[in-house]
Every structure is written in structure tokens, then in C-alpha cells.
């Protein structure tokens, strides 16, 4: 039987030194890459400014056909990416899956960045994004209130709740680690980290209330992570649009979200652990377990694709049938088959242990999955609208430079924000890793399992 690698290969007393060693003195290369990413983000901001100045006509959207373009496809994609953070942090915490310990902080940070990026897309799609605050339920001089049964309102509530709870969960987990940094820095750094550490000392009373709340927030976030993409899926499932109006959408969206999110976690962690030299903390075994989970989510997604097509045929609904024939054979068909290859077939290579334990293969396949999952949202949103009930609505949509510029900007922002996070905050939860690293024992035998 092959030997299974441990989840962690670090000593209790070495955790601080090794994790804190990732924080200090960013190199010149770091700042150069950060600057390039900032330029990419600025380009997107300029494009957004152009869109505000000229109106939605400057996008590739053309009435009466495809009126939901890649802005909303990107919204679904980014919200989906955000799912893995909460999955790894909250759900795996409740299941006591120890492999989450070394990766939950990075996954949570990724979640928050992704939610911010996701939220930008509906704001742009609103057209007049500068009056987004009209979504807030407040009595203004117009005496007009938002409609609480609108999927747009559901989205607003779901996304803002998800961001707030993710932020709370992330910050709660960060407080003990900020205290560790506070105690090992001097000057301004000590003051800044100390300010955010809130005066944490790790007393029994603090751990007591902290642990209870952390568990409760994990439970609440678990319910939330399932609900957010369910709510997002209702944006599509509620209208009587062929290709969208289906009860399979909520689980299908949640599985797809977790699938893409886990792939993005692999994409970010594989290079990060190599750059920081923390392969003994984020071990091959941890990455292998993520890959195995990806196999599961990829399987659910593949099953959903099959069921969608089966139901279109079995329902004998001519519009549904036509939509799915068009999906597999129409002028967007190459995208659909690209999705099937990247998101469904590529993860199957994880059945081979040699591939799922090789960081290079994991990195390559995770990028392919992400490419597939981005195009999947293109298929769902755009292809479904391209041939609607009435032929006069039929059309061909392709994003123009304005839409692609902001898409590029959001990817640049993800990488930039993640780089800054990994350099200025502990990307590995120090206190949690210490606990899993094995307590220093004189004789042993006293410590009990939770």
C-alpha cells in the first residue's frame, strides 16, 4: 500500500518562524509584477470610465437579442470562485477535515477579493452605476422602495451578506495571528498589527468566546455558501427563458461554483507555496485532497450537463429542445465543447495518482478548469439568449474591448490583491497550524480530541 503523506510536516516551535518569514521585505520583482498588475487594473478602470461617459451602447450588447453579456457571465464566474473559500473554511471546519488548516486563510482571502470583483459587474450592468445606492431600502424623496421580490434585490442581499460574513469569518480567524506578528515586530508595524489584533493575548477566556463564535459563524457561513449561488441561479431560473428555466439550476450552480473555486485555489496555492518555500505546511497531500474534491464536483457538473440535455429532449418542449441542439451544434458550439473538455474531461486525469500529486499537473489542469468554467458562464448566459422564442430576437454577441478590459482588470486585481495579502498578512493560519503540528509534550497522553 502506498504511504500517505502527512497533512503537515512542521514542528510546533518552527511554525512562527517559517510563516512569518514569508512576510518581510518584498523583492524588486514583487513590486515590478505588482506594478504591471496595477497597470492592467487601471486600464479596466479607464474602460469603465469610458463606459460611464458614453453609456451602455459602448458595450457589445445590442437590442433586442443578447442583452446580458459577459458582465453577468463574469458576475456568476467570480461569485463561483468565491465559494471555495467558505467551503474550505467553514464546511470543512465543521467536518473536522484537517487538511483545510494550512489553506483556509488563503482561500478566504481569495473569497473576499472575488466577491468584490463579482459585485462590480452588476453595478456596471445597471448602466448608471453611480446611483447603485438606490438598491438600498431607505425612504428617499421619491418615496420609491426597492421591490423585495426582485431577483436583483435577492442578489443585493445575498452578495452583501456573503461579503460581510466572509469578512467577519476571515478577520476572526486572523486576530490571534495578528497578535503573533505584533509580538515579533517593532515600530510602526507593531502599532498597525497591534491595532488590528485588538489587544489579543490568548487568555483562556478569550479562546473560550472566540472558539464558540468561530464555530457558530462557520455554521452560519455554511448555510450561506449554499444559498448565495442558489440565489444567483434564480436570476436565471426564475424567467421563463429556454436554457435557464430549470429546477436543476441551484445545485448545478453550487457544484460549478465549488468546482471553479477549488481550481482557483490550486492555481494560487501551487505557485505561492513554492515561492514562499512552505511545501512542508501546504503539502502535496493537501493539494491531492483538493484535487480529489475537484473530481467529485466535476462529476456532479458533468451529470448536470447530461441531465440538462436529457430533460430538454424528454420534456418535448420545442423551445428547450431547440436551445440545447443549438448549444451543441450552433455557432457557439465550439465554446460548449471547450467547456466539456476543460471542466469535465480534464479533471478526470486526477484519477491518476501521479497527476494529482504532481504540482505542475495540478497547476496546468486547474488553469484549464478555470478556462472551462469561465466559458461555461458564457454558454449559460449568452448562448441561451442568442436564440430565444422569437427569431427577430436572435443574434450574435461578442464582447468588445470595454467588456474585455474590465474582465482583464478583475483578473489583475485578483492577482494583485492576493500578492499584497500574501506579503503583508499571514497566508497560513499560524495558530491553527501550530495546533495541528503536534503540541510539545513532556510525557503525552493528556491532550484530548475535540
Amino acid at each position: 500500500m502506498p504511504e500517505i503523506e502527512p497533512d503537515l510536516d512542521v514542528k510546533f516551535e518552527d511554525v512562527d518562524r517559517q510563516v512569518l518569514g514569508t512576510l518581510w521585505r518584498p523583492s524588486l520583482v514583487f513590486w515590478f509584477v505588482a506594478f504591471l498588475l496595477f497597470l492592467g487594473f487601471s486600464y479596466g478602470l479607464a474602460a469603465w470610465g469610458y463606459l460611464v461617459a458614453t453609456g451602455m451602447g459602448s458595450t457589445g450588447l445590442r437590442p433586442p437579442g443578447v442583452m446580458w453579456g459577459i458582465f453577468l457571465g463574469n458576475f456568476v464566474f467570480w461569485i463561483g470562485l468565491a465559494h471555495s473559500g467558505t467551503l474550505i473554511s467553514a464546511i470543512l471546519y465543521l467536518f473536522r477535515a484537517r487538511f483545510r488548516t494550512s489553506i483556509n486563510r488563503s482561500a478566504e482571502a481569495m473569497t473576499m477579493i472575488c466577491i468584490m470583483m463579482a459585485a462590480s459587474y452588476p453595478l456596471i450592468h445597471l448602466g448608471r452605476s453611480w446611483i447603485f445606492y438606490w438598491l438600498f431600502p431607505y425612504p428617499d424623496q421619491r418615496q420609491i422602495w426597492p421591490d423585495f421580490i426582485s431577483p436583483l434585490m435577492f442578489d443585493f442581499l445575498a452578495v452583501s451578506t456573503y461579503f460581510t460574513v466572509s469578512l467577519i469569518f476571515w478577520y476572526t480567524g486572523l486576530v490571534p495571528d495578528l497578535a503573533i506578528i505584533r509580538d515579533r515586530t517593532v515600530g510602526l508595524g507593531r502599532r498597525i498589527y497591534g491595532y488590528f489584533a485588538l489587544g489579543w493575548t490568548g487568555s483562556a477566556s478569550q479562546w473560550h468566546h472566540y472558539a464558540t463564535s468561530y464555530l457558530l459563524i462557520a455554521g452560519l457561513a455554511t448555510a450561506l455558501v449554499i444559498s448565495v449561488h442558489t440565489v444567483v441561479s434564480w436570476d436565471f431560473a426564475l424567467p421563463i427563458q429556454p436554457g435557464w428555466h430549470s429546477t436543476i439550476f441551484p445545485p448545478y450552480f453550487v457544484a460549478g461554483a465549488i468546482h471553479s473555486g477549488l481550481a482557483m485555489v490550486l492555481t494560487l496555492l501551487v505557485p505561492m507555496r513554492r515561492i514562499f518555500g512552505i511545501q512542508n505546511i501546504i503539502t502535496n497531500r493537501t493539494l491531492e485532497l483538493i484535487a480529489e474534491t475537484t473530481l467529485l464536483t466535476g462529476g456532479i457538473l458533468g451529470y448536470s450537463y447530461v441531465i440538462e440535455h436529457f430533460m430538454a429532449w424528454y420534456s418535448a418542449n420545442v423551445f428547450e429542445h431547440q436551445t440545447f441542439v443549438f448549444r451543441a451544434t450552433g455557432y457557439y458550439a465550439w465554446i460548449f465543447w471547450l467547456v466539456v473538455f476543460c471542466a469535465i474531461i480534464c479533471p478526470l486525469f486526477f484519477f491518476f495518482r501521479g497527476i494529482r500529486t504532481s504540482p505542475i499537473w495540478l497547476f496546468v489542469i486547474s488553469i484549464l478548469i478555470n478556462i472551462g468554467m469561465w466559458w461555461e458562464r458564457f454558454v449559460i448566459v449568452i448562448q441561451s439568449l442568442a436564440q430565444n422564442y422569437l427569431p427577430y430576437q436572435w443574434g450574435f454577441y461578442w464582447p468588445n474591448w470595454v467588456e474585455l478590459a474590465w474582465t482583464l482588470a478583475t483578473f489583475c486585481f485578483l492577482l494583485l490583491a492576493f500578492m499584497l495579502f500574501a506579503k503583508f498578512l499571514p497566508s497560513v493560519p499560524i495558530a491553527e497550524v501550530k495546533k495541528e503540528a503536534g503540541m510539545p509534550m513532556h510525557k503525552g497522553g493528556l491532550y484530548r480530541e475535540e
Binding site: 423585495f148 451578506t161 460581510t164 467577519i168 493575548t201 487568555s203 472566540y210 472558539a211 493528556l446 475535540e450
Partner: protein, 170 residues
């Protein structure tokens, strides 16, 4: 009248630390504060055996959030009667989403605020007796004891495995 003195012990090993904690508790010493770099359920069993009150605050937050947001939706719909597709003014079924989001949001906020305040945070400095080693790899016990018994406590702590004992730690 004898004044109380604070005695701080630093432990390198978790089993000795927990054993000492039990001994002190059994012998009725006043444990002022206990420090650990990681969360230890056993430490909590000994020092803080009662469930945290943050549970009740979280429940309260959930109730306030759920009912509050649905209440706001009711007010908004009664104030501005927008009839959509002939649906009722107060559509309870779609508002399950509204209630759910409000419940989760406020329960989480209350859970966070309650653990922060119940832990005595935020505070400008650190607790009395705190050492930076306690965020590293050491465990600490701060005992409050009458000044004429400090020698006895010091001996006990050393016997239990403390690598360093400081008297008058505050």
C-alpha cells in the same frame, strides 16, 4: 492584612501545563489568568467550563435580523404598493430569502461583536502578566496568592514543570 501577589509560571509542555492547571484548581488556588498560543479544549474545560454566552447573542442577532428585514420589506411594500404580475402586496414565500439573509447577517454580526466584547477586547494594551512568548510556544498561568504563600505556590509550579516562575508579575 496580607496583600495578594501575582505569580506567573511559563510552561514549555502542554501536558505539564494542563496537569498544573488541574492541580491548582483542585487545591483551590485563585487562577487569575491562563495563556496559550493555541486553543486547547482541555484548558477550557478546566478554566471556563460553562458554555459561552455568545451563543445566546448569536441567536438573538438571528431573530432580530430575520424579523427586522422582513419587517422592513413589509413596510416598504405597504408604503409603495407595486403590484408585479398580480402577485400579492405581501408575498411571504419569496421573503423566505429576505428572512434567511437577514438572519445569517445579523447572527454573524452579533456572534462577532459578542466574542470581541466578552473577551474584553478591544483593549489598548495587553492583559496583566502577558508575555510575548505566549503567542509563540509557551503556555502561562498567572496565580493570585496571598504574599505569605508565594513560596509554596512557586514550589508547586516548579514541581509541575514550569521552566520559569516570576513573582509580582503584574
Amino acid at each position: 492584612m496580607k496583600s495578594d501577589e501575582l505569580v506567573l509560571a511559563l510552561f514549555p509542555y502542554v501536558d505539564q501545563f494542563l496537569s498544573c492547571l488541574r492541580t491548582l484548581k483542585d487545591r483551590g488556588y485563585s487562577i487569575a489568568r491562563v495563556f496559550s498560543p493555541v486553543r486547547l479544549p482541555e484548558m477550557q474545560d478546566i478554566v471556563t467550563p460553562k458554555p459561552s454566552v455568545t451563543r445566546a447573542f448569536t441567536l438573538l442577532g438571528g431573530i432580530i435580523g430575520g424579523t427586522g428585514l422582513v419587517g422592513l420589506a413589509c413596510y416598504a411594500h405597504l408604503r409603495f404598493k407595486l403590484i408585479v404580475w398580480g402577485k400579492p402586496i405581501l408575498p411571504w414565500i419569496p421573503w423566505v430569502v429576505v428572512a434567511f439573509e437577514g438572519t445569517i447577517l445579523f447572527a454573524s454580526l452579533f456572534a462577532f461583536v459578542s466574542w470581541v466584547f466578552k473577551s474584553g477586547l478591544p483593549q489598548p494594551g495587553t492583559d496583566a502578566g502577558y508575555e510575548t512568548a505566549f503567542s509563540g510556544s509557551k503556555f502561562g498561568i498567572l496565580v493570585s496568592v496571598a504574599s505569605d504563600r508565594t513560596a509554596e505556590v512557586e514550589r508547586l509550579l516548579k514541581e509541575e514543570g514550569a521552566e520559569e516562575v516570576r513573582i509580582g508579575a503584574a
